[in-house]
């Protein structure tokens, strides 16, 4: 009897363990973002949370806009026999070859954060950045904050990167017919340098700037410090831009920024990995998931709470 019971328990344990072992998969989450970029830390948290919740392994890496490094990471994931890959597009078309290689190896690849229709990803989770750009511009026009012939300043961290290019494309679609002009300026990823360069530009062009669109999180999150340094009062110059950091939620609450875009970075990673898992189980991810919400002062506290982990 005891022997049978032991056998039964052993069998039961094996029955539980084997499927669990069989189901534990390994995914690679590969980002073009920088490890110290505040918003990417939230994306990373979402990936880590998914791993914790599902019991799967998620290997993460950042590549700071270095395309060859990111391609190498994807190839490493393929060589390691990944069950699925979740990655971003650092530049349009730059991931074409490696995604084809992953597909040839039977590995699904989900694109997050920045869409790239030139690459054959299985699915996309994130925002439509062209639409985002158009939303910002339309917000300024609809609220009467800019009018025909005005000039809008658009600071960005990394000029030429996909996100800024696509956002500008959307902005152009709204501003160009209204003869509203704009300038994109290079501000780097270094906080002190961002503040200095933005302060310099604002000091030099204070009179002609009618509105500001922050094309990235770091520049939008620096607006308060720049305004304080240059002596611009909150609300004197309308500002819209990204709102995925606590800096920006506070700026919206205090009136420095009129409206900011929340892209739900945690959920983007979480859903991206879920789609990769689904595809790895044989259910194709034949659809995209779009996120994004432009919030004003009344919605800022909610985002602030999420970012604060409350």
């Amino acid at each position: 009897m005891l022997k049978n019971l032991k056998l039964l328990l052993a069998g039961a344990a094996l029955a539980v363990a084997l499927p669990a072992m069989a189901e534990a998969k390994t995914f690679y989450w590969i980002s073009h973002g920088g490890p110290a970029d505040p918003v990417w830390t939230y994306f990373l948290q979402g990936a880590n949370q998914w791993a914790e919740d599902t019991g799967n392994t998620v290997n993460t890496s950042f590549h700071s806009g270095d395309v060859p490094s990111q391609q190498e990471a994807v190839r490493s994931a393929i060589a390691a026999g990944a069950d699925g890959i979740v990655t971003t597009s650092p530049d349009p078309g730059s991931m074409n070859a490696v995604v084809d290689e992953a597909h040839a190896a039977g590995i699904p690849v989900i694109n997050i954060n920045t869409p790239d229709p030139t690459v054959d990803f299985d699915a996309y989770v994130g925002m439509d950045l062209v639409v985002t750009g158009a939303q910002w511009a339309q917000y300024l026009v609809d609220k009467g904050l800019v009018k025909e012939g005005d000039f809008v300043w658009m600071p960005v961290e990394v000029p030429g990167a996909t996100y800024g290019v696509q956002e500008e494309q959307g902005i152009r679609s709204v501003f160009e017919p209204l003869n509203i002009t704009w300038e994109v300026t290079d501000n780097t990823l270094d906080q002190a340098e961002v503040i200095t360069r933005m302060s310099d530009y604002l000091t030099a062009n204070r009179d002609k700037i009618k509105a500001i669109i922050g094309l990235g999180d770091l520049v939008t999150g620096s607006v308060k410090r720049v305004f304080d340094q240059v002596g611009v009062k909150p609300g004197d110059i309308p500002v819209v831009g990204w709102g995925n950091s606590l800096d920006t939620t506070q700026e919206v609450l205090e009136g420095y920024v009129n409206a900011a875009m929340w892209q739900d970075p945690h959920a983007t990673s979480y859903v991206g990995l879920s789609l990769a898992n689904m595809a790895a189980s044989g259910i194709p991810a034949g659809f995209d998931v779009l996120v994004g919400n432009l919030y004003e002062k009344d919605g800022a506290q909610l985002v602030d709470d999420i970012l604060s982990g409350k």
């Binding site: 490890p35 830390t41 290079d186 906080q191 002190a192 360069r197 000091t203």
Partner: protein
């Protein structure tokens, strides 16, 4: 003193030359001319370049670079580099604010710990260079990655909150702001001036200053004459790291951000400031006054090209072109000076 003066003794007639010739012969003359030219050109194009608001905006970041450049001047005069200063700049602020935000220690103590840890990093750099005889370029490149990686790993990439710095006396002491007429100035300017005076005195008026120049000029000869070359370099590596930490802490309080990624690329800009100021790239000759001029040249140039309205995305083209032009002018003046001698 004898060692440093021997190199000048070949140019004996120095004191007998006319005042203008003597002025032109100084290594600081080139950078001074460059600085004056920059100010005149930028002001001519946009008179707001010298407006109180713009001057007030330009000083704080400039002196943060300056604190690093002053120490780098001494190290480079001794014939070594430190490529880890940018990483230490970011790491030290993160360390200080992490200790404080976690409630482990009060802010003044966290500040002292951050400076001490930075000095320790400098000590490790120095030991690798002097004991293992590995070039400082390679040692500090490796240390840069170690320090930067540590800052990222410890913080998970999240910036440390520094909003509550305003109530702390040490924050006011380091970087509190005040007005002199229409100019908004920060205490960091005072620390920069103080450091410049002290470092100038050390380099030009003390035995240790002679050791620094001797260590960079001809280390073998210096050792033969009893100069503690290795000890001198060790101290300078520690000083360089500690000053980078001080600059990083000041910057974190001023910008309300202690980001583990802060300071990326600063090392090359700091070295450029020192070299443009007239310090020899390979050691043996250094000038604190020149470095002060070099710091202002590079930072005012960045400010000026924005003020005169160059296209935003053409920023780096202008920076690179101006640096090349300045270096050509600088070395041209130096060659002419030597030919004149």
């Amino acid at each position: 003193m004898a060692l440093a003066h021997e190199t000048h003794s070949r140019d004996v007639p120095a004191d007998e030359r006319p005042l203008l010739r003597r002025l032109i012969a100084k290594p600081e003359f080139g950078p001074l001319v460059l600085l004056v030219v920059l100010i005149v050109v930028f002001t001519a194009i946009n008179p707001n370049f010298l407006s109180p608001l713009n001057v007030s905006n330009t000083f704080p970041f400039t002196v943060e670079f300056g604190l690093m450049a002053l120490a780098m001047t001494l190290l480079m005069t001794a014939g070594e580099f430190d490529l880890s200063v940018g990483a230490v700049f970011g790491f030290s602020a993160v360390l200080m604010w992490t200790l404080f935000n976690q409630g482990l220690v009060p802010l003044p103590l966290a500040f002292v710990i951050a400076i001490a840890v930075a000095a320790l990093i400098g000590l490790v750099n120095g030991l690798f260079v002097t004991r293992l005889k590995i070039p400082s370029f390679l040692v500090t490149l490796g240390m840069m990655l170690v320090v930067r990686g540590t800052a990222l790993f410890v913080t998970d990439g999240f910036p440390q909150r520094t909003w509550n710095a305003g109530d702390q006396w040490i924050a006011n002491l380091l970087v509190g702001d005040f007005y002199i007429g229409p100019f908004r100035l920060y205490m960091s300017l005072f620390w920069f001036i103080l450091a410049a005076v002290i470092f100038w005195y050390i380099l030009n008026q003390t035995k240790f200053g002679n050791w620094i120049q001797a260590a960079g000029g001809n280390p073998a000869a210096a050792r033969a004459r009893g100069v503690h070359v290795d000890r001198t370099k060790l101290i300078l590596f520690m000083l360089c790291s500690a000053m980078a930490a001080l600059a990083g802490v000041i910057s974190s309080i001023r910008t309300s951000a202690a980001n583990p990624n802060s300071g990326t690329g600063y090392e090359l800009e700091v070295i450029a400031m020192v070299v443009i100021g007239g310090t020899a790239l390979m050691g043996g000759r250094g000038t604190i006054v020149g470095t002060v001029l070099g710091v202002f040249i590079l930072r005012l140039m960045r400010n000026g090209i924005v003020m005169i309205g160059v296209p935003g995305l053409a920023y780096n083209i202008f920076i690179g072109a101006i640096i090349l032009g300045m270096m050509a002018l600088h070395y041209g003046l130096e060659r002419r000076n030597h030919a004149g001698n």
